[in-house]
């Protein structure tokens, strides 16, 4: 395609990407470098149904004047990135200097909100992604062998977990795994432990969230693999059969190599999606035991009693983007090499 034609095709999408993706990221990056103005306090007397007290109040006129002079706030450089609620550089170096053993050092690190969230986010990503791929693959193989008259309904039912909105799905399961709920009660019976609760301990909460994640995402990989299975060359399969390959060997030497590009595609999508894990944490009320980077952003933007932390949220957002880039690099390099080999 001539360069000119290509450009005239691509410019509307390039413009849209610039406006709706690049510019917002730049604005978030700028925001992350600023914090609010120093507040000016005045002492005032508050009265209400419970009597009067003298308290401090923010001087709104003085604050408004500061804001008008510098609408973005005070420049803070990388201060927000390095403070305790993010990368916590000072806390980490102090923990390193006062360490007695590695375990103590690690537990100090994992006590910091950012690293606590990162540890769950990474565990979730690296456990859910392979399980989703493997489970989806086997479900696709199984469905592909079904007689055609029950194929349609089976595919539809298999897709249901993905169709349910994540927040709704996790809320429903939250009540089902309650000690008085269907799943929670059954588990207590099976394990013969009346105190068993999936919501009580951090470890079981992590397991619950991860199982939920696999349940929710497996249909995506299933449907991609199922589509891929329809394109497996029949003659190669037949010649494998003539060569005496059993069913497993056919899968191992014909089907899997054929579907490998799809595995790369699904891993890319799942790594990105799982790194942004968020809804199940809200739905399962799991913030006491598991937080993720996205949850931290949400928490900052929601604010506690109106203390919305825009700079903080912006910094975590950028760190998330960097995290996604790091995660995807190996997969992208692999794709690039494969592409180069083919071309």
């Amino acid at each position: 395609m001539p360069h000119r034609t290509f450009m005239s095709f691509i410019w509307p999408s390039a413009l849209a990407m610039l406006l709706f993706i690049a510019l917002p990221i730049v604005s978030v990056a700028v925001q992350s470098l600023f914090v609010a103005h120093e507040q000016v306090f005045v002492e005032v007397e508050n009265c209400g149904p419970f009597g009067c007290t003298t308290v401090q109040k923010i001087d709104s006129q003085a604050t408004a004047a500061l804001r008008a002079a510098q609408p973005l706030g005070q420049f803070n450089g990388l201060g927000t990135y390095l403070n305790r609620n993010h990368l916590a550089s000072a806390e980490i170096s102090e923990a390193w200097q006062t360490r007695t053993d590695l375990a103590g050092f690690m537990s100090k690190i994992l006590n910091l909100p950012f690293y606590k969230a990162l540890s769950f986010t990474l565990t979730y990503t690296f456990v859910v992604t392979p399980f989703v791929i493997i489970l989806g693959f086997f479900v696709a193989l199984a469905v592909n062998r079904l007689p055609s008259f029950i194929k349609g309904p089976t595919i539809f039912i298999s897709l249901l977990p993905m169709i349910v909105t994540p927040l709704i799905g996790s809320l429903i399961l939250f009540w089902m795994i309650d000690a008085d709920g269907l799943i929670g009660g059954t588990l207590q019976l099976i394990f013969d432990d009346p105190d068993l609760s999936l919501k009580a301990s951090p470890a079981l909460t992590w397991v619950t969230l991860i199982v939920y994640g696999v349940w929710h995402s497996a249909p995506f990989s299933f449907i991609v693999f199922y589509a891929g299975l329809q394109t497996v060359p029949k003659d190669t399969l037949e010649s494998a059969m003539i060569d005496g390959a059993n069913r497993w060997e056919q899968v191992r030497y014909v089907v899997i190599p054929h579907l490998l590009p799809l595995v790369v595609f699904i891993s890319l999508m799942q790594l990105m999606d799982n790194f942004r894990v968020f809804e199940p944490i809200v739905g399962f009320n799991a913030e006491a035991s598991a937080t993720s980077l996205s949850w931290i952003i949400y928490n900052d933007l929601r604010g506690s009693d109106g203390n919305i932390l825009f700079g903080s949220a912006a910094a975590t957002s950028l760190l998330t983007i960097i995290g996604v880039c790091i995660l995807l690099t190996p997969v992208l390099i692999r794709t690039w090499r494969a592409h180069g080999a083919r071309a």
């Binding site: 507040q39 403070n83 305790r84 909100p113 609760s197 919501k199 951090p202 009693d305 109106g306």
Partner: protein
């Protein structure tokens, strides 16, 4: 919907609209947009406000239990998305921090004849909100269970622990205590209550420097931990709704729950007559040998947005006045401890009154209190799960607060 019911509905709306014109809201123009918390008393108030809809004025209501997370963004817009917001000790400060609400002195002088003086929330001489009810977390207890365990009504948290032990030892209940310990705002509120009960203060005098990492703080945390050992293991996921549900299911014998829930657990719905009959209320327990109930006093009211036209503000004030009238309160006596004059006291309000008479502290109206509250709610879960010491948890709260307070310009 068939034709007949459509006609009936239209007629009902028309009648409701016309009757409101006679009901005397006195509002014939303007747009009134209300956002409020969602619990029985606020539902009654907003239903009354909706009666002013029609005949020239438009009134709309958004009841949302997460309203406090929505109001700052909504009222910062110009014109504001809502003309009036539910306000409490803490959310009024939130709104005033960003200068989002207007003084009401002129409106009170003009239209505020029926208001009791105690309803006026004044800051520096300006009326910033009109309160309509008082609220506090206080003790709910099951008379039958306490009797069966052979213990009296607990007055202190040590009594609560002793009673819980007796109930558990007798095999009456596995988890006799419940609390609103959901990580986040609820857990932070429990910390605030218990710490004030221990006689603590949150900040160094006259500054935003936190001052909770001390012996009183440690005692507070240890008491919370001791209580949590008698709670359902899921306690870190329990908010008021969940606690109310376990109360109504008869799983719990003692809890320190909001006064605004007292009506709901005795309303003849969602529970058995036996449980309701034995549900009693008392002052919030004291702590650490002190005499002050470990609870905070709250008022609920309305504040009016700054970023709206004066005409809308005036219409809003009139609608608010109509919606929190003494007549509305008299028709809904059981739902809250109303502050309006001439409203008879409710039977289920004894807990709030006893807590207030015990001189519990009002929730601190400080600009930086919300940030500390949030830090406590986020950092305490580790301690209650046994992952760290009380001192470490308190140090974490202070550190998390410092980082947030620096970003907000408080420090």
């Amino acid at each position: 919907m068939n034709m007949l019911s459509k006609i009936a509905l239209t007629a009902a709306v028309a009648i409701a609209g016309s009757s409101s014109a006679f009901a005397g809201c006195g509002v014939s123009s303007g747009s009134v947009r209300i956002i409020a918390n969602d619990f029985p008393a606020s539902q009654a108030v907003s239903a009354e406000a909706m009666k002013c809809d029609g005949s020239g004025a438009s009134v709309s209501v958004n009841l949302n239990k997460d309203y406090k997370d929505l109001i700052v963004a909504a009222m910062t817009a110009n014109p504001a998305e809502y003309t009036t917001s539910h306000a409490t000790n803490s959310t009024l400060v939130t709104l005033m921090n960003d200068d989002l609400v207007r003084p009401l002195n002129d409106y009170v002088a003009k239209y505020g004849q029926g208001i009791a003086k105690s309803q006026l929330i004044t800051v520096d001489g300006n009326v910033m909100a009109i309160a309509f009810m008082a609220n506090a977390q206080h003790l709910f207890y099951r008379q039958d269970i306490l009797d069966a365990a052979g213990v009296g009504v607990p007055a202190s948290y040590d009594d609560v622990l002793a009673a819980a032990k007796a109930i558990k030892d007798k095999g009456l209940m596995d988890y006799p205590i419940a609390g609103t310990y959901k990580a986040g705002w609820n857990l932070g509120e429990e910390f605030v209550n218990m710490y004030l009960g221990h006689g603590g203060s949150f900040f160094k005098p006259g500054s935003a420097e936190p001052a909770i990492n001390n012996a009183k703080g440690v005692a507070t945390l240890n008491m919370m931990k001791a209580l949590s050992e008698y709670m359902n293991p899921d306690f870190l996921t329990h908010d008021s709704n969940a606690v109310q549900a376990s109360w109504e299911a008869g799983n719990v014998a003692m809890t320190n729950l909001w006064g605004s829930r007292a009506g709901a657990v005795t309303d003849g719905e969602g529970s058995t007559a036996d449980i309701e009959k034995n549900t009693k209320f008392a002052s919030a327990p004291t702590a650490a040998g002190g005499s002050v109930p470990a609870s905070t006093l709250w008022w609920d009211g309305f504040a009016i947005a700054k970023n709206i036209s004066d005409a809308d503000a005036e219409a809003t004030f009139k609608v608010v006045m109509a919606s929190i009238s003494s007549d509305m309160a008299k028709a809904n006596v059981d739902k809250a401890n109303w502050l309006m004059p001439g409203v008879p006291a409710r039977a289920t309000g004894v807990g709030v009154i006893a807590t207030a008479n015990g001189a519990a502290a009002p929730y601190p109206m400080l600009p930086y209190m919300g940030a500390l509250h949030g830090a406590a709610g986020g950092e305490l879960a580790d301690f209650l799960q046994g992952k760290e010491s009380a001192e470490q948890a308190l140090a974490d709260i202070e550190a998390a607060y410092r980082a947030a307070a620096k970003e907000k310009g408080f420090l």
